[in-house]
């Protein structure tokens, strides 16, 4: 027998670790990744690979040479950031866009704050928003990619949200726009036309969501409160004037609402701790997203909404505490 170990209680530990949690997120992202690859082909593979590689490499280099600490890439969080960033880019984006996105995501948004757990803003979204503002042309051009299945040719040059925004600006009514472009909700549910890599299939994202819930990686409150808010907000406006405001289902299925609400708003680090805080956070994201969609100059506002609400998380955490035992 060796020397007896002595430590304070408890003496056993759950098998869940940061790494296993991140691995679960990666697994949950797989359906979306698969759909993207099938639909966008080699260009999607290239953008996914370059984004993940850059994110991981950057975190490794920064921990090793700048912070001079043990490497943290083993926790898999850089992989998650890489995949989510790639899913936020147009599949036709060149590799250097992914690189710049990774630098901003991992280098600026994550590591400057002290690495995983310390960052205020979601790294992947920070990267995406930086790219969106810096390279608007590249970031809003879709199409041209040749997928492994079906109709890559059918990919139009813009997302449904973009088409609607454009049309409305030109004074068309929604009825005219919808007639012109033949939007199908069924198509949006399975394989959307146009959009960032990860936005194209609602069903793939929902499968990931169910997996995350089943593995108890996330709790449903943030995601659901975003979706409900988007639906209610758009529902009210749609009822007021269906010719100017898109309907709830259209708003739920298009753009980054699903991807954002399932994978980005639920990021542990940048979302509130308590369920009550999560609901406030989600409602805020929903409202800001819809405000940007209806009244802003960008067709999509999910990323901005999440970033804005990220900055309120410390406040929300301060005021939304869970109920304590035996205290009124």
């Amino acid at each position: 027998m060796n020397k007896l170990l002595v430590s304070p209680s408890p003496h056993i530990h759950t098998k869940t670790s940061t790494r296993s949690l991140m691995l679960d997120v990666v697994i949950a992202l797989l359906p979306s990744v698969l759909v993207t690859i099938l639909f966008y082909g080699w260009s999607a593979v290239a953008i996914l690979a370059s984004s993940v590689v850059f994110c991981v490499l950057l975190e490794y280099l920064i921990t090793k040479y700048l912070l001079k600490k043990p490497s943290t890439i083993g926790d898999m969080s850089a992989v998650v950031t890489g995949i989510i960033l790639a899913l936020n880019l147009p599949p036709t984006a060149p590799w250097w866009v992914a690189m710049i996105g990774s630098i901003v995501a991992v280098g600026v948004a994550k590591m400057t704050f002290g690495g995983l757990g310390q960052n205020v803003f979601n790294p992947a979204i920070t990267g995406r928003v930086f790219l969106l503002i810096s390279f608007p042309a590249i970031m809003t051009t879709w199409g041209g990619a040749k997928g492994f299945i079906g109709g890559a040719d059918a990919v139009s040059g813009a997302t449904p949200l973009g088409i609607v925004k454009e049309g409305l600006m030109q004074g068309q009514t929604l009825q005219q726009i919808f007639d012109l472009h033949d939007f199908s909700y069924v198509q949006m549910l399975f394989v959307n036309m146009g959009g960032s890599a990860g936005e194209i299939s609602a069903i793939a994202i929902i499968i990931g969501f169910i997996y995350l819930l089943a593995r108890k990686v996330i709790r449903p409150y943030i995601t659901l409160s975003i979706l409900v808010t988007v639906a209610v907000f758009s529902g009210i406006f749609w009822l007021i004037d269906p010719s100017q405001y898109t309907d709830p289902l259209f708003n739920l299925l298009t753009g980054g609402v699903l991807l954002g609400s399932v994978f980005m708003a639920t990021d542990y680090v940048t979302s509130p701790m308590s369920d009550k805080g999560g609901i406030i956070f989600g409602v805020g994201i929903g409202i800001i997203t819809m405000l940007i969609r209806y009244f802003g100059s960008y067709p999509e506002g999910m990323s901005f909404a999440i970033l804005i609400m990220n900055s309120t998380v410390p406040l929300i955490n301060k005021f939304c505490k869970q109920k304590k035992f035996g205290r009124a």
Binding site: M1, L4, P10, H11, I12, G117, S274, Q322, G326, R327
Partner: protein
Amino acid sequence: MKKTFSIGGVHPDDKKISAGCAIEVLPTPKTVYISMAQHLGGPAKAIVAAGDKVKTGQVIGEPTGFISAYVHSSVTGTVKSVGLRKDLAGIPVVHVEIEVEPDEWAEGIDTSDTLVKEIPQDPKFIVDRIKSNGVVGLGGATFPTNVKLCPPPDKKADILILNGAECEPYLTSDYRIMIEKPQQIIVGAALMKRVLGVSHVVVGIEENKPEAIAKMKEAIASLAAGSSGYSGIEVVTLKKKYPQGGEKQLIDAITRRQVKSMGLPIDVGAVVQNVATSLAVYEAVQKNKPLIDNTITVTGECFPKQSNLLVRVGTPLSYIIDSLGGVPESAAKAISGGPMMGKAIANLDAATLKGTSSILFLTDEQTRRKPETNCIRCGKCAEACPMGLEPFLLNKLARNGMMDELEQNAVQDCIECGCCLYSCPANIPLLDTIRIAKGEVIRVIRSRSAQKK
């Protein structure tokens, strides 16, 4: 709908691998070392000296205050010394060392097996017997039972809860006594019911012990048929969730009443006693037998011989382990108690106490802590905390010594159940820092309320 407590909790693997082992009586060792600090409160004062002859069940330590208890000799023999000896944490405590001779019981102790069902009418007689026989709470805190059964006159209990939850993984001693001595436990409950003057007694048992639930129900039915003193006793099946056996959690689960911060169970009209305590009460009152032995589970996957043993108080741990084949090679840690709240044993030569419930061996892989990494703010600790606290926040405040904020965030409510540290994916030693901060904050609160008076 099975009952459970309302906030938090975790589900560690059950691992009751010694559940099937019937209780065996461990032969007495050659020498026993009886500690004078076997209960919460002031240590007892030894009243024997080297050279004295003592009989089994004879008083050898007297209480030194209101919260203190009698200590009895668990064997017959000659006192060899009275002096400092290291307990399981290596801390010197006064022990009485006795060289063992064949058992010769002190007068007035009924050593037969016959079940005595008649409940004495006089509550004072019952309490006196409990006190003079040194019964303490065997659920972990070893609080003197007689004190707990006599609440201050302005507070009145309306329910007695027997804790048969045994929510800690591995432990099976309570389970075994519920199966092997259910009637004695129920008689003990009826005795305490008589003292408290309550009409309702609930035995809370977790759903993973169906056999114990059945045996206890059976015992209640057969006893209730014979005497009116056994009415109002029932078994409630609880969901399996740790820390169900925490006093506050158990009261919440069964009565939906929540004990206020810094409050006591009696504030909400409840008294909680462990089933093992109930058995000790039975023996103390009906048999006049002091608390000199208790059931100890010896277990662990790496331990070859799973056992539930009836052991005399003061038996060296090493003697128990050696009689079962010695410490296994792969064992890295020995724990007295369960894996969630038990104490790591630093000194295997230490002797058992009244409250010792198990010796558990864990391997390096099972127990060694992994390196701490960054907090990812997942909130799993807050989700797990049965008191609704925010361990991630308390940990930060504790590391920065922010006493006022710690108090505002209720660190004093912590029950040290270990759920936070257990569930942390980043392996942050949350409870290590919180436990220390809790102690400091409680000291501040106490000194403040003392000043007010």
